[in-house]
Symmetry: C2
Subunit: 145 residues, 2 copies
DNA sequence: GGTGTAACCGACGCTTTGCCGGATGCCCGA
DNA sequence: TCGGGCATCCGGCAAAGCGTCGGTTACACC
């Protein structure tokens, strides 16, 4: 894959916020002809820098419950735990972190019951020493892009 | 705003993964004429259900540092803290949570220095009682949408 | 200077889009 | 039951968008 120059970064910056603007507009904004812009975008797509285009949907999954599970392991790293977490589609993100705990697990479940089930499953894994659950009451700030 | 029917949900499901497919293709997939589909999409955009379209960029700002800041307040709610947090674009998300702490703040900064600065600023806010920083070492699982 | 490569531009023809008139289905009051 | 009113659908037209091509410029290298 080639190196990204300034104009490529401009393109990415614009498309990451407005993925559907016409090529002509995009070309004008970065100071290139439409066809040159078209080729650059195509190259960015083919090389995998642009992985796809997604519509940003407003609140529709309204009654989902989000939570943070703070996990301490008996010894790091523990691949077994990650494998198990990966099996559940409700697990949105898992991060290895510094500090008192080892894993920050973010989940999105349809109900509190389901959250409890999930938490119990994870907590009883032999590699898990401690698990603290924080249920999200409200998203105060949420930035996209 | 109107209620969303099954076809609207189909549209959202498809566009949330492939925001740039031609209307014709989209129409064929949901079983409507192109123009009817066009009107539905336009309505979804105008009503705010579709907030925008974003290109999904692969890892390019690879050297960004992510962190969780776990904040305990002297008394909840504290609007002053949220106002301050909202001022920094590095603050990606803030969630009010249950449990031992009050706010889970997720940040993305260009350097550890910047993280320290940000943490100090937040920690010295009069409403903040305690602040624990967890630096993300690695994203083990990350799911989109 | 000659040659190769990479990136640019403008133009051509095809595809997609926005917009319109008219058809269809459904609700509700007379 | 009938007949407006309303929402939603379709097909077609003109305009705008797109991918692709040949030709041009810029630059590095021998």
């Amino acid at each position: 894959m080639k190196e990204l120059d300034a104009k490529d970064r401009d393109i990415l910056g614009i498309l990451s916020k407005e993925a559907r603007i016409p090529l002509k507009t995009l070309a004008g904004r970065i100071g290139l002809s439409r066809s040159a812009t078209s080729e650059r975008v195509a190259a960015l797509e083919k090389s995998g820098v642009i992985r796809g285009y997604r519509a940003d949907i407003g609140q529709m999954d309204t009654n989902l419950v989000s939570a943070f599970l703070m996990v301490t392991l008996v010894s790091t790293p523990s691949i077994g735990v990650l494998d198990q977490l990966a099996r559940y589609s409700e697990v949105r993100r898992v991060s290895s972190v510094t500090g008192q705990l080892d894993l920050m697990v973010e989940v999105e479940v349809p109900s509190i019951d389901r959250l409890n089930t999930l938490r119990d499953i994870i907590a009883t894994h032999p590699s898990v020493q401690d698990l603290t659950t924080l249920i999200v009451l409200r998203r105060d700030i949420e930035r996209r892009e």
